[in-house]
Every structure is written in C-alpha cells, then in structure tokens.
C-alpha cells in the first residue's frame, strides 16, 4: 500500500488555453498561446503594453472570438459562448479601464452584480409574491456583506462614479464577487492605487483566495505580481516567452530583455 503522501494528485487544471490565436484584420494580437490554470492557483499574466494580455482576457470571457485554438474550462469548450454564458459558468472578470455603473450607488452596483443569484421569474415579480420580497431581502443582505468584505460599507449610498479612484477599483471587485465567481479574472486591479492601497488589496486577494476562488491576474505592479502569484506567464508580442514561479521569472534573461533589453541594445549600438 502506498503511503498517503504519494497519493496526493496535482491540483486539477480548471482553465486551459490551447493554441489560441487572435487576429484583428492584419494585426496579430495573440499568436499560438497555450497555458493553463489549476484549481485554487493565482496565476499572473505579465508583459509589456500591447503584448496581448487584455486580449487574452477578452478571449476567455467571450468578448472576442479567437481566430484559432480552443479555450476549455472544467471540461467545457468556451469558444463561441457569449459573455453572460461564460459568467454563468462562474468565470467573472473585471476591466482594465474602471468599469462601474457610475450613476448607481455602490450598494446598487453590488445588487446588480448579484443578478445571477436571483431566481424569481417575471410573473412571480409581477404578482409580487412573498418569495420575491424574501429574495430581495436576501440579496440586500448579501450586497451589504460583500461591501463590508471589500471595506466599502460606509460608501454604500454614494454613487459609484463619485467614489475616489482606489475605492472604485475595490467596488469593481465587489461587483465581480457578487456574481459568485469560481474563477476570477482581474485586469490591472491596482493600477492607479497608492502603495498602501495596493498592500490592502493584496491582503484582500488572499482572503478571496481562501474562499477557494481561482485567480488569473493581469498586472504591471511587479511587487504585487511577485507577492501573490503561484505562477507567472510572460507574454511579448502575442507570444508566451516564459512561464514559471515568480523567482524563476525574475531571473529569466528573455523576460529581462523583453522589459529592459531593447532600450539597452539600442543604447549599445
């Protein structure tokens, strides 16, 4: 009989991109991208501007159709699915540019995010059945709980668009969490935050992770990337140039060149 330790299977792959290519007319945004994310992992996607990171997010969440390749999430092929169908599978994203329901309160923002948790049909709502009121109460309590989790309770009745920038970014995460993700895609969540806010955000990310949510992160803040990631995938010109643990990536000469090399080479000429 085998001892227990050796029976530990490696964590299951939940998301895999297989040979994904995206072309916009003549522009090749991504060429032959293959990588996967395992259950409960935090994986960061890094690379210089224009490397195809956001395009990768758009492909995974159904906003952009890949020209070639397959995206598989828990055994289901995501190709051709609409964004809301992808969200229904538990893959929820945030956006690079701050994206909120600006003219609604923080509380209502989260309440909208809770859409997927509501089950009452139109006819039940039109008849104002008691279960509709019960569900609304449940959703309101849940919205309060989520606002509390990201630390925005005291801002609940302020308009989303009127919040300070750092808090808008927190509210975005709150809206995404409201959709009950199993897999969260965060697109530069701390851009524009000051170091203190970033540190707090990293703590929150740990708590999100403790809830068993897998995270794919696009981020430029290297301290954060190296601090939270289990693995890092480096993109340049739509291609994966390196993949591995944060320490390996930091030492990888190709990565250093992608970030610093061209300027240095040109200076040497």
């Amino acid at each position: 009989m085998l001892p227990m330790e050796t029976k530990l299977t490696p964590p299951e792959t939940v998301l895999s991109l297989e040979h994904i290519a995206v072309r916009f007319g003549g522009l090749l945004a991504i060429s032959d991208m293959t990588f996967s994310v395992r259950e409960h992992e935090v994986v960061s996607l890094i690379g210089p501007n224009g490397a195809g990171k956001t395009t990768a997010f758009n492909v995974i969440t159904g906003f952009v159709r890949p020209t070639e390749g397959r995206i598989v999430y828990r055994g289901r092929v995501l190709n051709g699915m609409k964004p809301h169908e992808v969200a229904d599978l538990g893959l929820v994203r945030t956006f690079q540019k701050t994206s909120l329901f600006d003219r609604n309160t923080a509380f209502d923002n989260v309440l909208i995010g809770l859409h997927r948790r509501g089950k009452r049909k139109a006819w039940e709502i039109l008849l104002a059945l008691p279960r509709v009121a019960r569900e609304e109460k449940m959703l309101s309590e849940e919205a309060e709980r989520i606002l509390d989790f990201v630390g925005l309770s005291r801002r609940a009745y302020e308009l989303g668009g009127a919040l300070p920038y750092g808090e808008q970014r927190l509210l975005e995460v709150a809206v995404a969490l409201a959709a009950r993700p199993e897999f969260l895609l965060l697109d530069e969540p701390v851009s524009g935050m000051n170091p203190t806010e970033t540190r707090n955000f990293m703590k929150m990310l740990d708590k999100i992770r403790e809830q068993g949510i897998t995270i794919l992160l696009v981020e430029h803040d290297m301290r954060m990337v190296m601090g939270v990631s289990d693995r890092v995938v480096v993109l340049n010109h739509g291609r994966i140039i390196a993949e591995g643990q944060p320490e390996e990536i930091q030492r990888n000469p190709e990565v250093i060149e992608a970030y610093l090399g061209q300027g240095a080479t040109r200076a040497a000429d």
Binding site: H84, A87, I125
Partner: protein
C-alpha cells in the same frame, strides 16, 4: 410611506369626476390618460433600457385596430375558398387580444432589431410604424382604409342580473382609463424595482460590465420590448373603444413624438416622469384653447418644451427629487437611489 402618497394621488384622481362637471375637461383627461399610458410604456424602453423606440405608435395602432376589429367582427379571405370569419365579440375581449397581439409584435420587433442598437434601432422602429400605417391604409377589405372603422362598440359590462351596461360616456371611460393606468404603473413599478429592472438599468449604464456578471442582454431587452408594446396596445384599445372611430392616422409619427416629449420633459427613467410630462403636455394646450389662438397655443407648447429641456435637462421629476434629496441629506439622512420616485 411613498406608497401611501401614491394611493392618496389615486384617490384624488378617483374623485375628479365627482366635482369636475365640465365634460369637455373630462374628455381631455381621458385622452391625456391614454397618452400617459402609452408614454409609460415608451418610458420602460427608453428610460430603463436606454433604447429609443420611435415606432411606439405602431404598437398603439395594432392594439387599436385589433381591439376594434374583434369587437366589430370581420372576415378575412385567406384563399379563394377559405375565409376566417370572426363574429363581433365584447370589447373587453378585443382589449385582451389587442394587448396580446401588440405584445407579440413587440417580441418580433425586439428579436429582430435588438441585434442592432442606437440609430439603427431607431430607424427600424420608425419604419415598423410607417409600414403598419401603410397596411392599415391599403388593406381596405379588412381595415376599410381611409374610410375608417366606424361605430366601434364601447366597453360593456355583462354580469347577468347584477350589472349590464354599455360604458360609453365620459365618466365610465375615465374610470376605465384610470384603472388601466394604475395597473400599468404597478406593472412597471414592480418590474423596474426588481432584479429584472436592475438588469435593464445595468444594460443601459454599462453593457460590457452587465454581461460580465451574467446578465443576458437580449433576454431583458426583449422582455422590456414585449411589456412595453403590450402596454401601448392596451392604450390603443382604450382609444378605439372611447373615440369609437379609428383610421390609419392612429399610426402617425406625431403621436410617438408626443409620447417622447412627455417622457423626456417629465423625466425618463423615473416612474412618475411620464405622468407629470403627460399631464403638462396633455392638459396645457387644452387649457390655453379658451384664451389664445391656435397658433399661439403651439408657440407656447414649443416654448414650454424648450424651457423644460433647457433648464431641467433630466426632466422635472429628477430635478424635484434631487432638490428633495439635497434638503434631506443636509438634515443628515441618506436616501438610497432605489427609493427614487
């Protein structure tokens, strides 16, 4: 608290025929009420999902013609040896069919045209209403074309032994319109204050974010279109059985424009907006009739509209609400937006 205020307002409206003895003004209120119902239906689409339907009158007309034809009876020659003959039915049955058929038309237009948004959607809806007008004008065997459908029976009550009556006259029609108006208001209120209404608002405010949290765009736009169209059809049916004569002019573009004016000035995306805007632009021209010449009436109408849009770009109701909020918040109490009127 606000609900109590609403029922007080309804009680006031119920009392109107008791003290307003001038039947002409009651007539004005009935027509205004019908337009308010149509405006509320337009507001559901324009104010909550952000889609401008400039063919709303198409649904109004479908409701009017369907209801009129069912209550008059008609014969539809489908082939040379098969004809669909419908005997005259009570007006309320016409009303029900008018609502269903216009709701169905809303579903069709919604399915087809929500693939395209913005300006294209506006063009499709205008065309839809214009095509409907041409059908009504040219399908003479069914609609009598420009000769109009005459003698449309009024609503009737037929509870044997208890109450049997024909409801033509201003007072009964006033109450019918009021009842349908109150029901329409409640339907819209329940819808927009629910998860479904939040989904519609979310689509208007930020569609990519809405879809990324799992909101199905087409589904909620089509739902709004169907409810909106059915409600416009109800208004059309009320119109047909009150005026008792309809011709293809019920499809005129100017009626849609009137609805849009009522919604925009009152405040799109608010429950009370179409009612406030409808009362102003339904009643004011008639009040001016006694004192001014027709040309001056329309100048005042236009001036009033420009003034409201210029000084209160969001409409009257949001302006009042904002003023109220600023007063309340100065007193230190926060008011959640979800309790907006």
């Amino acid at each position: 608290m606000r609900r109590w205020l609403g029922w007080l307002w309804v009680a006031f409206l119920v009392s109107v025929p008791l003290w307003m003895t001038d039947l002409y003004y009651l007539h004005v209120l009935i027509i205004t009420g019908i337009f308010i119902i149509a405006s509320m239906s337009l507001n559901l689409l324009l104010g909550y999902t952000g889609q401008l339907n400039l063919g709303q009158v198409g649904f109004f007309g479908i409701g009017a013609y369907t209801s009129a034809l069912i209550s008059l009876g008609f014969e539809l020659k489908l082939t040379d040896n098969f004809a669909l003959a419908v005997d005259p039915h009570p007006a309320w049955l016409g009303f029900v069919f008018g609502v269903i058929l216009s709701g169905f038309a809303g579903w069709v237009v919604g399915r087809i045209s929500f693939k395209i948004r913005g300006a294209y959607f506006v063009i499709v809806t205008i065309s839809f209403a214009e095509v409907m007008r041409l059908v009504a004008l040219n399908w003479v065997s069914l609609t009598q074309g420009p000769m109009a459908l005459n003698n449309i029976p009024p609503f009737t009550v037929d509870i044997p032994g208890v109450w049997e009556a024909e409801l033509y006259g201003k007072v009964p029609n006033y109450y019918i319109v009021l009842a349908v108006g109150v029901v329409s208001y409640i339907v819209i209120r329940r819808l927009v204050r629910s998860r479904l209404g939040r989904a519609m608002i979310a689509l208007k405010e930020n569609e990519p974010l809405a879809t990324s949290v799992g909101i199905d765009v087409t589904r909620y736009l089509v739902l709004a279109a169907v409810v909106s169209a059915a409600m416009a059809g109800a208004a059309g049916s009320l119109y047909a059985h009150y005026v008792r004569i309809i011709d293809p002019d019920v499809f005129l573009f100017i009626y849609t424009v009137t609805m849009v004016i009522m919604v925009i000035t009152g405040g799109k995306g608010t429950l009370a907006g179409p009612i406030v805007g409808g009362l102003i632009f339904g009643v004011v021209p008639e009040l001016l009739r006694d004192t001014t010449r027709p040309e001056v009436q329309w100048i005042i109408y236009g001036g009033l509209m420009i003034a409201i849009v210029f000084f209160l770009p969001n409409g009257i109701v949001p302006a009042v609400h904002q003023w109220w909020r600023s007063r309340v918040s100065r007193a230190g109490v926060a008011v959640p937006l979800s309790e907006a009127p």
